[in-house]
Amino acid sequence: MERKTVNITIDGRSLDVEEGNTILLAAREFGVHIPTLCYMDHLSPYGGCRICVVEISNNGGGKTFIDTSCTHEVREGMVIQTNSPRIIRARKMLAELLVSSAPNVKITQDIAARMGLLKVRFPMEDNRCILCGLCIRMCYEQMDGKALGFVGRGMGRKVSMPFEVRPETCRLCRGCDYVCPGVIIPCQGVKEPGELCGRCVRIEEMPNCCPMGTFGCFCEQNPL
């Protein structure tokens, strides 16, 4: 079956991509890799972390706007820049905000390293949850658990189960734990020659961000 395509320009290259695709996926097909954090294949795009932003012009004219590539759909004639100076500045600052909020989460350090961030000018906190929402989307969309959700708003927003009690619909499938980027602790580096710190595989040191860990549902039963 013939799929309809549209012609777009990404970083100067003219490409024919499938209609209905998001910019992120269309770009990936052609080897253009846009960094992401809260996006995961097979889960609906969320557009919360804003790391995957790109600069877009609808018809190649002068006026551009910025939007997340994981949610924005391609349209005929779109001109997209994935690494313009404005985008690079934005990603670097977003990385700085992330790291200052959650420095002990491996993925924020990875993103900061990727953006070339060397200095964090904000007072450091030690959050373990980066509010990416992957656990919630996994629970709702793939595992049909409907047990997790966002509560509160703004700076007080957090992930929780209703009334902080594990509901009957939670089957302890651990899908949330599987997708959570915060569960992985950064490596502490080489200790003795040939030895790694091994923190990422030691479950007893799992940080307190994962909803399961917080409610102690399964950590007593060591899954490994």
């Binding site: 557009g47 949610t71 924005h72 600052m93 992330l98 000018r121 007072p123 700076m155 007080g156």
Partner: protein
């Protein structure tokens, strides 16, 4: 309440109402808006009811509790027709005098009339009061005449005549053309051309469509929409009916924020009465057009003023905005094409249909037609609602209508557009008030809040205030708004505590750029505006806080010190009595002293000192 089944039914009812009104020799109109309620208008109303009953005048004198006439500073407000005597600051005790003097003898009650601040002469009717003289009260004037809980009052001023015209003399496309020709732009803040929005919604594929009235009005300092919906809800219903007909929608919602109980109540009453009369429901006026409206309530979230968040809220979800690549006119409520407009926008629609697009477009400027209602508040003498033609200058609004400065301090800026807007310094007060001119000077029209600030206002404190406000109201979904505003707030906190350094301002500006660029919705995208405009026009104040650890406006508590002037102090001791930390020492009739170490800087001493001897710097 009659049941209206045709245009001739409507006209017959209207005639009957006007005939009945002729039987009234006098109309006493008491403002029942929330502002006057706070000033005790209920007691005034009860007093009138009692007096009129006692004097046996209930037949010849009509007592109306109306919507807000706008001059809230002077409430409770009472107007007597047909003489058009405008009484302000009326108390229940004044009522017997009004009855005996004005009603029975046609004489004015002098002490209730407005006194001109310049030459102290008494002014009789509102049109001559400086506050009202240059206004063009196309919408608000109806508030004076209409009791919002009586459909008959709305009919008496020609209500639902525009609807009749539209349903029987115009096709939907012609209605859109008329609104287009009028040049009406949205009054909610963005100023998007209304007809264009209606057209896009009309063209969107789908059978089921919705119209929504946005009365979330979260901008602090703005209360125009509250007064319109409280005071004349039928005008909004009529506007929505006309819009729904033009777009092809049969259902509508009026979303009122939770903090406006009276607006919610009055709109609900109007809907019930309109349904009873057959002006809402099936086959309206016999035209074959069906339309009905439901009320929806906010829960206390500024972000729900944003259209996608508002729609999510109506759907029973949290008020989280979504990407607007596909606009709400194509996919809105329950995924259907939805047209959302502000209260004031809807209220303008029946007016345009009745008097024509040519008349409407003759008011205002080239690209901003018609009038706009502003809430003029803050450090200005005459606070209240003002309705003026677009193009009038800020100077005219603040000085001619507003009466200029209050308590002897020079006015230094005005804030427009709420947390999405910016401050405009006094040097630019010749700017005409219209959508594009305000954007050019770094602010926006916004919903109409106009907050006047004087030398006693610290612009750094104002920037800090807005950032903290937005932090509270952010939905928290996207990183730049949630974390970026938090960090901006921290920097501003440090600056106002005297802990800022040379990098603070550049870091603030860097953050501002990224928050504006990458935020998901309008709240985050425009959040940096108040900070950036304060920096643009009042950078020296920021630098004073950082480099000299000084607050020029004497507001930021960590940087100020209270002291008593020896020469002015009379030694009355009032300050020492009211000081919560007993930080003031002094003998009777001798100059008092403030002990700086225990002073909590609450300012009570300054408030109570009659000799103006307390100084802050």
């Amino acid at each position: 309440m009659r049941k209206i089944k045709s245009v001739s039914d409507l006209e017959k009812w209207r005639e009957a109402i006007l005939e009945k009104e002729k039987g009234h020799e006098f109309i006493i109109s008491v403002c029942g808006g929330t502002g006057c309620q706070a000033y005790g208008c209920q007691k005034v109303k009860a007093a009138f009811q009692k007096e009129l009953k006692r004097e046996g005048m209930k037949e010849k004198v009509a007592l109306k509790i109306t919507g807000c006439p706008g001059f809230c500073e002077r409430g409770p407000l009472v107007t007597i027709y047909p003489q058009n005597f405008f009484y302000q600051r009326v108390k229940a005790e004044d009522v017997p005098l009004i009855i005996s003097e004005t009603i029975q003898h046609g004489r004015k009650v002098e002490h209730l009339l407005f006194e001109d601040p310049m030459d102290h002469h008494k002014i009789t009717s509102s049109q001559e009061i400086p506050f009202y003289r240059t206004q063009m009260r196309l919408l608000l004037s109806h508030n004076d005449l209409v009791d919002p809980t009586r459909t008959e009052d709305y009919l008496a001023i020609g209500g639902y005549g525009s609807l009749a015209k539209v349903l029987f003399q115009m096709r939907p496309i012609e209605v859109i053309e008329e609104i287009k020709a009028s040049g009406l732009r949205g009054r909610g803040g963005a100023g998007y051309p209304t007809a264009k929005k209606w057209e896009s919604c009309r063209k969107a594929p789908g059978e089921t469509k919705y119209v929504i009235c946005n009365c979330d009005e979260g901008d602090p300092g703005a209360f125009m929409d509250r007064s319109l919906l409280e005071g004349n809800p039928h005008s909004i219903l009529e506007g929505m009916l006309i819009g729904a007909y033009a777009i092809g929608a049969n259902e509508g919602f009026i979303y009122v924020r939770q903090e406006y109980p009276l607006a919610h109540k009055n709109a609900g009453i109007a809907i019930k009465q309109a349904r009873k009369a057959g002006l809402l429901g099936k086959n309206i006026l016999g035209s074959g057009f069906d339309f009905d409206v439901e009320m929806a309530k906010g829960g206390g979230a500024f972000v729900c003023g944003e259209s996608t968040a508002l729609i999510a809220s109506i759907e029973g979800k949290v008020g989280e905005p979504r990407s607007k690549q596909t606009h709400t006119v194509e996919q809105g409520l329950w995924g259907k094409p939805t047209n959302l407009n502000n209260v004031e926008t809807w209220a303008n629609v029946p007016l345009i249909i009745r008097k024509g697009s040519k008349w409407f477009s003759s008011i205002g400027t080239d690209k901003s037609k018609g009038t706009k209602i502003f809430s003029l508040v803050g450090k200005v003498k005459n606070t209240g609602l003002v309705e003026v033609p677009m193009g009038i200058t800020l100077k005219e609004i603040i000085f001619n209508i507003g009466g200029g400065q209050q308590d002897g301090k020079r006015i230094k800026a005005v804030q427009t557009g709420g947390p999405s807007g910016g401050c405009i310094p006094a040097s630019l007060f010749d700017v005409p008030v219209d959508f594009d001119s305000l954007t050019q000077v770094g602010s926006i029209m916004g919903s109409g809040g106009m907050i006047v600030m004087d030398e006693g206002t610290c612009m750094v404190d104002v920037a800090k205030y807005f950032v903290h406000f937005l932090q509270e109201e952010s939905c928290g979904k996207c990183l730049p708004c949630r974390e970026g505003l938090k960090r901006m707030g921290e920097i501003l906190d440090r600056i106002t505590e005297g802990k800022g350094d040379e990098e603070s301002l550049s870091l603030l500006e860097e953050l501002a750029e990224v928050v504006a660029d990458t935020s998901l919705c309008g709240l985050g995208k425009t959040a940096p505006n108040p900070v950036l405009s304060a920096l643009r026009y009042f950078r020296p104040e920021f630098e004073a806080h950082i480099l000299q650890k000084r607050c020029p406006a004497a507001v930021c508590t960590p940087l100020i010190q209270y002291s008593i002037s020896e020469t002015d102090c009379t030694g009355c001791g009032a300050c020492a009595k009211v000081c919560p930390t007993q930080a003031i020492k002094g003998e009777k009739k001798q100059s008092h002293l403030i002990l700086v170490e225990i002073c909590s800087k609450c300012g009570s001493c300054k408030d109570i000192c009659k000799s103006n001897a307390v100084m802050v710097q």
